[in-house]
Amino acid sequence: MTTPDATRREPAEPVPPGPAPARTEPARTEQAQVDPAQRADPADHGTSGRFKVKLTNFEGPFDLLLQLISAHTLDVTEVALHTVTDDFIAYIRAMGDAWDLDETTEFLVIAATLLDLKAARLLPQGDVEDEEDLALLEARDLLFARLLQYRAYKQVAALFGELEKGAQRRYPRSVALEPRYEGLLPEVMLGVTPKRFADIAAAVFRPKPPRTVSLTHLHVARVSVRDHVNVMRERLIAAGQLTFSELVADCEETLDVVARFLGLLELYRETVLAFDQPDPLGELVVRWIGDEDAPVVEFDEDEEYG
């Protein structure tokens, strides 16, 4: 990845969709509602709570995205992705310390794509100027495709639930044999190995989980991305380059890891960083490419990521 130049890419005039696979056109009205410039207006924030959308339960990042989109009463389109980016990030931040890293990873990957898109001000009709645009478009298409894919299975899952409900109203006959036939049964077979038998026992004994995951811990912890940015800025200037693991080695809470990750994206936008990640899911190397005494760009973290 090369140094980004976020300022160069102004929102383009609406042009026909790019190389993205043909899909339903986003409605014009929706696009007006979600003008990124409007949302970035600080006047929009402050007293008006950012957690307008309260979700009760979600299963992973795609589910969260779909629920957010639905809460905004939008169709599932690329534009909708833009609209819910802030909400999505807010959820990650709020949930941070409630998750283990395993769960967080996928959220972070998706958050990164969303933020990339937002940072680039890449509208659905984004004009392709160079390879970087193309990569971003591909990332957007992939994210969108995965979202649609998840939605398809989620719809099927709902159907499964209905089928199960219907089936549960029909009780199968399964009764003890009439005494006259009892002597006729051949030798009984368990049909399972001891290991499987133990698994079955474990499944039966396992306490039934609560039906929903409590979100009462939302809003509890707040971590300043700005503080983390400053910490990382110092370290990177001193070391020249560090891996992401090294950068988060001293983090005690998942939320801090999330904040560092978001902070990196922020620094990336300042064009003082470059990322190297040779393999997908491989080690992420962060290189300082900025001026050592570059002025610290002030940013309002609430505005950008709230």
Binding site: R23, T24, D75, V76, T77, Q155, V156, A158, L159, L163, G166, R169, R170, Y171, R173, S174, V175, A176, L177, E178, R180, Y181, E182, L184, L185, P186, E187, V188, M189, L190, G191, V192, P194, K195, F197, A198, D199, I200, A201, A202, A203, V204, F205, R206, P207, K208, P209, V213
Partner: protein, 205 residues
């Protein structure tokens, strides 16, 4: 685009489900007969007229008359299902003349393998023995009477006295059970995974 476009499968029970909203009208003879058929299909041991009358909120007299009428109808029509009053209650039996086919089916091993419910009940007994029926039902969250009867009949579990607190019959697994699992003693049962609640866990089947 946002429509859940899953095609509605052909579900005839959807229409029937609506009828349930109002509930079957049991004052209608045909409805009461059908309701009795449903219940008789799942009971394990003969059910008395009094119990059935309570279930349907009907008089014992009417339920008794209805059962007799049904029984006569099955016999007259030559149904393979025989509704008879034996001992102190009613139960579905196979009609005598078709017994040879039933025997053939059973000898072929149709019931040789344990059902899922039987396997789960057996698992509870194996790891919690000696254990009462009430305790097993509490763990599985379902009535286990029929399954326990089956497991006893198959020789996989046996009674070993009564619980001193509750007076309930205690059950344990047998040598045959160990043999079928290929183990030489209960000590060889694999330890079961730590009993931590899992968010992902699904509920009882």
């Amino acid at each position: 685009m946002s429509e859940p476009v899953v095609a509605e499968p052909d579900l005839p029970e959807e229409a029937e489900a609506e009828v349930v909203e109002t509930g079957p009208d049991l004052s209608d003879d045909a409805e009461l007969e059908a309701a009795l058929e449903s219940v008789l299909l799942v009971i394990d041991s003969p059910a008395g007229e009094k119990l059935l009358a309570e279930v349907f909120g009907q008089s014992v007299k009417r339920v008794t008359q209805t059962l007799k009428r049904m029984s006569a109808r099955y016999t007259e029509s030559g149904s393979g299902i025989d509704l008879r009053r034996i001992g102190d209650g009613w139960r579905f039996y196979t009609r005598d003349r078709y017994a040879p086919y039933v025997e053939k089916l059973l000898l072929d091993g149709q019931r040789a393998k344990l059902t899922r419910a039987a396997l789960e009940t057996l698992a509870v007994i194996a790891y919690r023995q000696p254990v009462t029926r009430a305790r097993i039902a509490a763990v599985r969250g379902v009535n286990v009477d029929g399954v326990i009867r089956t497991l006893v009949a198959r020789g996989l579990i046996s009674e070993i006295g009564t619980d001193s607190d509750t007076g309930g019959i205690l059950y344990r697994t047998t040598e045959l059970f160990l043999e079928r699992l290929g183990l030489s003693s209960l000590a060889d049962l694999p330890p079961i995974a730590p009993l931590l609640p899992e968010v992902d866990a699904i509920d009882d089947v």
